[in-house]
Symmetry: D2
Subunit: 392 residues, 4 copies
Amino acid sequence: MGAAGDGRLRVGMIGGGPGADIGRTHRFAMRLDDRYTLTAGVLGRDPGRSAELAASLWIAPDRVYRDFGEMATAEALRPDGIDLAVVATPNDSHFPIARAFLAAGIAVVCEKPLTGDVASSAELVRLAAEQDVLLAVPHCYSAYAMVRHAARLVRDGDLGRITFVDVEHASGWAATPLERTGHKQAAWRTDPDTAGFPSVVADLGTHAYHLVRYVTGLQARQVSAQLHTLVPDRRVFDNATVALRLDGGTPGRLWAGMAATGHDHGLRIRVFGDRGSLEWQHEDPHHLSVSDLTGRTTVLAQGMTLSPDADRLTRVGLGHPEGFLEAFANFYRDLADELAARRDGLTGMPRELSFPTGVDGLRGVEFVAAVAGSHDRDSAWTPVHPPIGTEH
Amino acid sequence: MGAAGDGRLRVGMIGGGPGADIGRTHRFAMRLDDRYTLTAGVLGRDPGRSAELAASLWIAPDRVYRDFGEMATAEALRPDGIDLAVVATPNDSHFPIARAFLAAGIAVVCEKPLTGDVASSAELVRLAAEQDVLLAVPHCYSAYAMVRHAARLVRDGDLGRITFVDVEHASGWAATPLERTGHKQAAWRTDPDTAGFPSVVADLGTHAYHLVRYVTGLQARQVSAQLHTLVPDRRVFDNATVALRLDGGTPGRLWAGMAATGHDHGLRIRVFGDRGSLEWQHEDPHHLSVSDLTGRTTVLAQGMTLSPDADRLTRVGLGHPEGFLEAFANFYRDLADELAARRDGLTGMPRELSFPTGVDGLRGVEFVAAVAGSHDRDSAWTPVHPPIGTEH
Amino acid sequence: MGAAGDGRLRVGMIGGGPGADIGRTHRFAMRLDDRYTLTAGVLGRDPGRSAELAASLWIAPDRVYRDFGEMATAEALRPDGIDLAVVATPNDSHFPIARAFLAAGIAVVCEKPLTGDVASSAELVRLAAEQDVLLAVPHCYSAYAMVRHAARLVRDGDLGRITFVDVEHASGWAATPLERTGHKQAAWRTDPDTAGFPSVVADLGTHAYHLVRYVTGLQARQVSAQLHTLVPDRRVFDNATVALRLDGGTPGRLWAGMAATGHDHGLRIRVFGDRGSLEWQHEDPHHLSVSDLTGRTTVLAQGMTLSPDADRLTRVGLGHPEGFLEAFANFYRDLADELAARRDGLTGMPRELSFPTGVDGLRGVEFVAAVAGSHDRDSAWTPVHPPIGTEH
Amino acid sequence: MGAAGDGRLRVGMIGGGPGADIGRTHRFAMRLDDRYTLTAGVLGRDPGRSAELAASLWIAPDRVYRDFGEMATAEALRPDGIDLAVVATPNDSHFPIARAFLAAGIAVVCEKPLTGDVASSAELVRLAAEQDVLLAVPHCYSAYAMVRHAARLVRDGDLGRITFVDVEHASGWAATPLERTGHKQAAWRTDPDTAGFPSVVADLGTHAYHLVRYVTGLQARQVSAQLHTLVPDRRVFDNATVALRLDGGTPGRLWAGMAATGHDHGLRIRVFGDRGSLEWQHEDPHHLSVSDLTGRTTVLAQGMTLSPDADRLTRVGLGHPEGFLEAFANFYRDLADELAARRDGLTGMPRELSFPTGVDGLRGVEFVAAVAGSHDRDSAWTPVHPPIGTEH
């Protein structure tokens, strides 16, 4: 499948219709480094509004499809077919859509949670491997320059042996029963059928858990968890507290919530080692705090000379903040490097720390399932990932 | 037992010898409002050094005793005997010392943890009640003006129904094996025999738990807990994570640690309600952040016109920080009011929100025991306090 | 001059060659909302490297020019010529380049300081008016959503009568003699010939002064100023302190610096009124602090429902930070609206608070000149802008 | 003049009557380290209320005087007369009171501004020298442990050559016309007759200026200043901006205000050098930020091992904040060391960095006068202190 004449990668989007924030976010992120051209799509369920939006996005009318199946088939046949399909629909449709494009040999970016159960997520991972096409999951927080630097500090041993990890993604966006006020996004995210999983762990906890894995390189081996419904009569669990047993027995904890009243976003990670510790907060993403054994805290800022990955992903000078869209664009930049390398027949994935793939998406779904399992058994310790060797 | 001629309350101190920080802290705190006179003591185990320190504190030589038993007996007999005994010794001696003074009819301030097990703590509470003398435990963080205001906001319903509580007292002071370097305080605090309990939950977790109870008015009914040893070969658990089921099923969590590398002190509480939330941190104690459902955060400062208790406990104008010693002094000020009222035959304890007593100390010990019990049973949910009606 | 077939505005860039940060920043900013196509350019002085960069930016080879004069002439003649010329060269060449494009009837974005003296800046403003084409100056800080909201609060009287204004843009980027280490940007910015003005007031002070004008709506009538050289032997003044007499006698002060050791960026504004005050800092741009007469400070965050202009310029949800590139993109978005409206024969500039134009650039140059004049006369009060009625 | 039997220093207070915050603050501060006994006083103008307050402070009735003259005479004659007189009256009476006690051979602590003009301040300094008694002025902010450490860092060259200094003490306490609402303190502080000087520079600017001198060791040689009245019809200048030429030509600036709406206290200093910079803010007094040439900021906390003076003045462990009263107590502790040394015939003042004396008070008054002079001459540069050799 060839690239566009101008060298940009051709992208098709499924979902991300009028009013859908997440699709718009993907589009902003793809534009920043100018590596992609939005070429095809099914932008929402209403054909008229989909076509109208597509036109405003300069998509040719013959590349606007009625459904994802038609799109996958047609694009796979075109010599100038899309290089990448972006799945930005509600969670319950991730699986059939991602499967259709992967089966058609088209690389896929699929929003988290990858699917609604471990088996189907594992199937997507297997399919991507069989087809030798990329499957990526936009846990974009790990693409912040300062998160890359945090991961580098841990890898380089600056914190020493990791002793404790604390992560939280506790937002306040749904601290009221928004879903009963006609709020569209709240409606599908609190509907167990469309949300995929009946819990905020799928929606936000997977981001938090990915951040732990990304920064520390450690995975949860067991969890002891509690799911709560803070807003009465809500149909999904909107709060979760989880004790973690990470690789090697390192303890940690995770809090996911969407009803943390007064929080704007609420993603934060703290990593403690026997030589130092670090803290990163999404609401101040261009700084990273590093503390030593005496309690001295040094604030590093994006744009200083840090580690190669952090420097490479910094577009502006010291003191000029980058934000969420730039982090998302970093995900797409690394992905573009990989897609271009594959297109040109080069071996890809040269970077140790790069974008999250389907395996990361699967790990997230395994985590969601384990948390639910522990909750169902009154917080009993529950294994998370299959033992090494039996992994998908 | 009469007061000193000048109206100040007479105090005797047990422990707090040369180099003992906590005894010195008590003395600073008692001085600030000039309600006490340090009159008697056993200031450490070395008689010579105890006498020397006593002299520098203007204690008359005949009021410096060889041991607490002699002191309790002698002071109880004097017409100008002490009004209050302050127990600032290592944890394992709290029980016999406090018992001796209570039995002698002398009010007691005893450091936390009150004793090393629930039964002995309950015995002290019973003894204080029988003798009709005060037993107080200096969980002094609840005496900060802004913590009083936080408790007032919760009581007044400003946050609505409480939905989630998060508290941590995770210090980094013992992130290295200090106890193997000759550090005296580290030695006894990490020795299960002198520490009373083999866990940081006794030392710091009780402060955190008291803060939860004080601010929210809620008690833990069950805990699911994990104890960790982050510093290898340490003889006590230096880290603990606890899931809380508070009254009415309100969920919460608590983290206690003394090996949180890079943390200076690490006491912080966040309380979420269905109308608002609040956050208070000990390292910025003269501010209180209150957030509303839209995510707006308003920072209140000590010295503004707030609630009566907060205003009463503020000694200086807006923008002039007060700190730890002032909070400790607030504890002693409220205690002085109560002791003076009792001395003068008035009914005491008129304030809803006042200083922690032996019951609060007992609640802390029950909490420590429950956490240990849950840990021993692989994080199984474990009841904390006895049911209402069977309480001590 | 018609638009491109796809409706995007065609842009030509002068400067912004390989390694030039500012040109790259303009390109990032233009991409975000996909309203522009980079179509032509003179990307630096080396023709080979300019062509190479142009190719990587998908610019057709026949639209890469040897110099700006050739480009202005050729593009003005093409039916598909550029809609906008972006001048991102060192300061000393702003005037001839901007003049050439304006004279050719092509809209211009010109970096600050607009030119090296008041007369030439005024000439550009006159020329733009005569030609009826847009001249804009990217004081992009005023395009942050929270700065728009700050300006709205002042306009709406939320702060009451403005009593005092404090602004600073004191960076530490040149706290060492960087210009003697081969640092290219430091070299031209500290060379009086290329910098246009021999002072940091031109480079950073104009941003700070524009922020004052934008947020408060007040202009400086007189200044009393001091210029300093903090790095010995530097050829330009690298620090400036200015007392302001704003409209109506409102006092204020401004600090501009490029040698404020340890500062990363250092742009901050505080506005005080008789009912409230506000503070905004560029290193935390998605928050705005508003304080009332009691000293309570409320932190507003981008993404809350604020004022129409702030909401319109917010691309992502609450708690998802936007940064410098988004602010710059806001400038280009508003400019695109205006350019498109003019192209389509609509009357433009409908917004009260919008992007800075040549007049704003001229005001900046007048300010730089007045500061220098005051400094030369030992801080004597010096008029800044011509009286109303005699303005350019 | 002998000490009290118990070794504490005997103190008499003039002013600080019922409701007077500053007198109460002095008393809190003197108590903390238990080096003083409040022994005598004229606590306000109403004899009955003065006596009542004195009784509540355990002052013997025969040591409560009708006026300061009587007190100075009587105490000087007593063998157990006071060691120190604390002058905490409104500014206009500082001079006669301080003079009376100094003339009687009694050491004096006098609130700032020392007096209402340079000549009378100089006379007090001369008198203290002649009598060989101490005269101290409680610019207590310089007694914070972290300010001591800041001064130490500068002295030790950690910041390199000092290049720029920025200080502000801009409070919002009088942002409304409080003086017209019956607010007693506002009344006298905004009455030119009682305030001593008709400007906030005397009240708050002297603190800011002392902080500059203390931390940097530099004095202002010239000032260019502006005085403003932000609250209409106020009788004193409630805002001032000052450009500083410090020793060696180092530039700086100072802002003093009492009408900075929304500010709680507003004292902050930033010092820049050619190797690093530091920042200290009174509203977070137990931290000190130090930045290096790369822009990295390290936050130091009181209680870490810092410099000897900082460590000596820290009463509690790391992470336990101390506040305003502790800083004030530090002033009194150093003063007690000096008074005791003199009493015992030892040579005093061994510390390089210690408490502010009458000379510091005089320097403050000289500064206030110079600022007023510059303002009167339309911000003309005005000398501050007399040349070396002609100093008082």
